[in-house]
């Protein structure tokens, strides 16, 4: 049986678990959330991504119940949750600082939420043991939070937030306190746990790599507004604005003036350079545009390629060697710097280009994104 892709957002019949309807939140003169509407579906792993101060934390705190919207409504499972206090919501949160209770053992931390409900002790014990097993810290139940490592604390925080089996789990920068290697491993575990428990996860992060890895959909936020809500690959390959293109990953952005030529546009961008041929995703009018192209979409060669429309000539200014990849900063005669990336499939000694080499950069008609500015 072929597996159907998990895409409830494309299914008009799907009922969203969370609905933000024209939600605004103001703190005095400062508008943290500006007339924001969004649907989040059950079993989704939803990432709120943005720079600090973009309102992503405020959105999450409104879901948890620590803040109430100034206007608009937030629905959870079809119910307006604004009047419900945090302790009565079927929403749990994993705090950025983990907020583990230092005076309680790991076991009691996880049992804390369960003990607040009228659950019998044997059931609590079974549930806590199940949670300890889920996050693989069975050995540490009797320890206090200050007697375990940062990575283990992160697991306790996750287990504690999941113990009550919430409809929605909020994760505030869940992996920011871990070092890079541990973070990458934990990302996959987090996805695994999300799949196993079937809980809807909303994660807040400023780390785009983390958001791209774990999330089924990513919402890019800026100044209290949603810039784009889409799957990670669409966010990366088809950003709808220069802001999103620039925020996610590395990108070259070239300003120019577009003229329609059938399905493609010709973008005049610099004197002395031939116009760039690009393919807009939707028809656009003639006028000012931004052309965004990812460095890995640009080929670099010593000879002038003949099979492509977009070819520029320049000199290697800088090489950023990242191990698996090398990014070449190439200066064009007019001073524009374009970044091109190649995979280092061969050993370093045989790297083809070095500083001050004259090189040709080229890309296809569909490699870049044409954005109206």
């Amino acid at each position: 049986m072929p597996q159907t892709a998990f895409e409830p957002w494309n299914d008009p019949a799907a009922k969203p678990l969370i609905q933000f309807r024209n939600v605004s939140k103001r703190f005095g003169d400062f508008t943290a959330i500006d007339d924001l509407s969004i649907d989040i579906f059950e079993r989704e792993f939803f990432a709120l991504l943005g720079p600090s101060g973009c309102g992503k934390t405020t959105m999450m705190r409104m879901l948890a119940g620590f803040e109430t919207p100034t206007s608009g409504t937030i629905m959870l499972d079809g119910q307006d949750i604004s009047p419900i206090p945090p302790n009565k919501r079927s929403v749990n949160m994993m705090f950025q600082s983990y907020a583990l209770f230092p005076h309680l053992t790991v076991y009691e931390n996880i049992a804390f939420g369960l003990r607040r409900s009228k659950m019998p002790n044997e059931q609590i014990d079974a549930r806590v043991k199940q949670m300890l097993k889920l996050v693989q810290i069975e050995k540490f139940g009797a320890r206090k939070p200050d007697q375990i490592s940062g990575g283990q604390r992160q697991r306790v925080a996750l287990a504690r937030a999941l113990a009550k089996g919430p409809k929605l789990l909020l994760l505030d920068e869940p992996l920011s306190a871990l070092d890079k290697k541990l973070r990458q491993d934990t990302q996959f575990e987090l996805m695994d746990i999300q799949e196993k428990t079937g809980t809807t996860f909303v994660v807040v992060t400023h780390d785009q790599e983390e958001a791209m890895t774990v999330a089924s959909r990513v919402a890019v936020m800026d100044h209290g507004k949603l810039k784009q809500v889409d799957t990670p690959d669409r966010i990366y390959e088809a950003p709808n604005s220069t802001y999103v293109a620039d925020f996610i990953g590395d990108v070259n952005i070239i300003e120019g003036y577009a003229t329609k030529q059938g399905d493609t546009v010709s973008i005049a961008w610099s004197e002395g350079n031939s116009p760039i041929i690009g393919t807009p995703s939707k028809p656009i009018a003639n006028g000012k545009v931004s052309f965004a192209i990812r460095p890995e979409k640009i080929a670099i060669s010593a000879e002038r390629p003949t099979d492509r429309n977009n070819v520029v000539h320049g000199k290697v200014l800088d090489i950023a060697y990242l191990g698996n990849l090398s990014t070449y900063h190439v200066a064009l005669p007019d001073g524009t710097i374009i970044k091109a990336q190649t995979a280092n499939s061969r050993r370093r000694s045989s790297r083809p280009f070095t500083w001050d080499d004259e090189v040709w950069l080229s890309w296809t008609d569909t490699a870049g994104i044409v954005l109206e500015s």
């Binding site: 948890a64 119940g65 945090p86 302790n87 749990n92 949160m93 907020a99 005076h103 804390f112 937030a161």
Partner: protein
């Protein structure tokens, strides 16, 4: 290296030996002596010129008579008991007043906190004696408190507060409440607000979060505050002698009277030694609490 280490440790220990142990031994020796009409007012005195024999003679004259006397006269053990009772009740009242104040301070806006802190410490800028004397002016029959209550119309006849145990409680609580507030405030200010949010998130009401998170996590501060009030309150003599009446029995006052009014240094010495023995228990407990707090911080 070892020499350096030794001299480093020797400084605090030398200090303790010189300023605590030696005076204590002198008081202990006096408590084993007999009262006499001389200067100093007790015998025997140690005559080093008489050599070893003199010392042996001196030792043979020491006895535990005064301790036996303390046990037979019920004034003393009643005073000890009543001191412990007054100190315990005062500590409880200090906690009931001090904790809400510390909690309010810790939750006040950041820019207000230094001012509130200053207000708590401010009374220390005037002499302790002046503050206790001014309480006499407030609490006496014609004092401001009675005048105010009559003016408001709550009472018709002035209340007798001064020279009762109530005045002693008011004096002790007023004097020592900052010692309760400051350590509790110090622990509350360190409390991570996200812990309370986490408790709420996991199903606690605000009140439940307070009892389950705030109180256990400020325990070290509460214990420190209680000892800081209890220990000096137990031996307090200025407040009971200025504000208390004939019914007020406190061991500090008894000690003062034995020493200065009766000029019975040996009995006063015995009273002091017993008081110290009583205090050693809370002091040791307090030190252990401090150590735990330090360990928790690291």
């Amino acid at each position: 290296m070892n020499m350096r280490r030794f001299s480093l440790i020797a400084v605090p220990y030398g200090w303790l030996v010189l300023l605590f142990l030696v005076p204590f031994l002198i008081v202990f020796k006096i408590s084993l002596s007999d009262v006499a009409l001389s200067i100093p007012p007790y015998t025997p005195t140690l005559e080093l010129s008489e050599g070893w024999g003199g010392f042996r003679d001196f030792l043979s004259q020491l006895d535990f008579e005064n301790y036996e006397f303390l046990a037979t006269d019920d004034l003393y053990w009643k005073s000890y008991l009543s001191s412990v009772q007054i100190a315990l009740i005062s500590t409880t009242i200090c906690l009931l007043i001090g904790f809400p104040m510390a909690y309010g301070m810790a939750n006040a806006p950041k820019e207000w906190q230094p001012t509130l802190m200053l207000l708590v410490i401010l009374p220390f800028w005037t002499s302790f004696l002046i503050r206790v004397y001014s309480l006499i002016g407030i609490l006496s029959q014609e004092g401001m408190l009675n005048q105010f209550l009559i003016w408001v119309g709550i009472i018709n006849e002035p209340l007798t507060i001064l020279n009762t145990n109530i005045a002693v409680y008011i004096g002790i609580v007023y004097t020592y409440v900052p010692f309760m507030i400051l350590p509790i405030y110090a622990t509350l200010i360190k409390l991570d607000g996200s812990l309370l949010e986490a408790a709420e998130d996991l199903g606690c009401s605000r009140t439940e979060a307070f009892w389950r998170i705030t109180v256990p996590l400020s325990k070290a501060g509460i214990i420190a505050g209680c000892f800081l009030v209890f220990i000096p309150a137990l031996g307090e003599f200025v407040i009971p002698s200025l504000l208390g009446g004939s019914e007020t029995l406190m061991i500090g006052k008894v000690l003062y009277e034995e020493f200065f009014s009766n000029r019975d240094w040996p009995v006063a010495g015995a009273v002091a030694v017993i008081l110290l023995l009583i205090l050693i228990i809370p002091i040791v407990l307090y030190q252990r609490n401090e150590q735990k707090m330090m360990e928790a911080d690291t």
